[in-house]
Point group: C2
Chain length 129, copies 2
DNA sequence: TTATTTGCAAAAACTTTGCTGATAA
DNA sequence: TTATCAGCAAAGTTTTTGCAAATAA
């Protein structure tokens, strides 16, 4: 974005590995806690900067679901999520991306449609009990 | 939520009127600027508190699209939005709510599905020029 | 060597909260 | 009258940034 050739730093590798190792969709500070178990002296700013970097590189994705904090997903493929309205957990949803939506909206709204984001909301099995 | 019988204050009325009067989807501070033209001594905290109140009452809705700030919509009916990736503007999208999605997800993911949110992303006509 | 990255601290951006006086009913 | 609400200021939460030291290549 603003710099020259990116470097592969240890922090960067560990952040990517840890994010890819979980199926949850952690916020930056949750991932920070996780990464600190391997790199106790890492800073939260480094986690934020690298999550931004990895997102720009297309290696992970930033997901902006409801709630206050942004979350990150080790799977860069576009897919949909469901969020528990009780505990806030975010899971993946098994539904093919609906390509036809973008085309149908392009025809009606005057925007150049680039993509869409679909998020389901519900109560997870644990919270349902 | 925590109080007894709500009152109809002047601030509350003006905030609701102003939000209903625009088709944009202002953030709290944008609406604050707008409302201040009629109530110069209102505080941003009052705007935040009343937007929360009006949302709880189902008179408006809080929309949590991409970007940093939450936005508010004077139309409480569920509908979809499209956001310009260039200027950040949010418009309504003319597409019926896809009820079938919730049912199909209920069958596959174990969640009790309550609803969904669909947001399109694109470039608005002005930014396309 | 040297340009990029880190850690730290400070700032920024956005939102919520405590308190006292004002006000709707 | 009185419980709710507003305004103000302060604090809380999340994210970003400036800078000097560390480091990948």
């Amino acid at each position: 974005m603003k710099h020259g050739k990116p470097r592969i730093t240890h922090q960067r590798e560990v952040i990517l590995e840890e994010l890819k190792s979980v199926r949850t969709h952690p916020s930056a500070d949750e991932l920070y806690d996780q990464v600190r178990q391997r790199l106790p002296r890492i800073s939260l700013a480094t986690v934020y900067r690298n999550l931004e970097f990895l997102t720009d590189q297309g290696l992970v994705q930033k997901i902006e679901v409801g709630g206050r904090q942004k979350r990150f997903d080790g799977n860069p493929e576009e897919h949909y999520h469901i969020r528990c309205l009780d505990c806030g957990k975010v899971d993946d949803v098994d539904l093919d991306r609906i390509q036809s939506l973008d085309k149908s909206i392009s025809r009606t709204c005057g925007y150049k449609v680039i993509g869409h984001r679909l998020e389901f909301m519900g109560i997870c099995p644990e919270c349902s009990k």
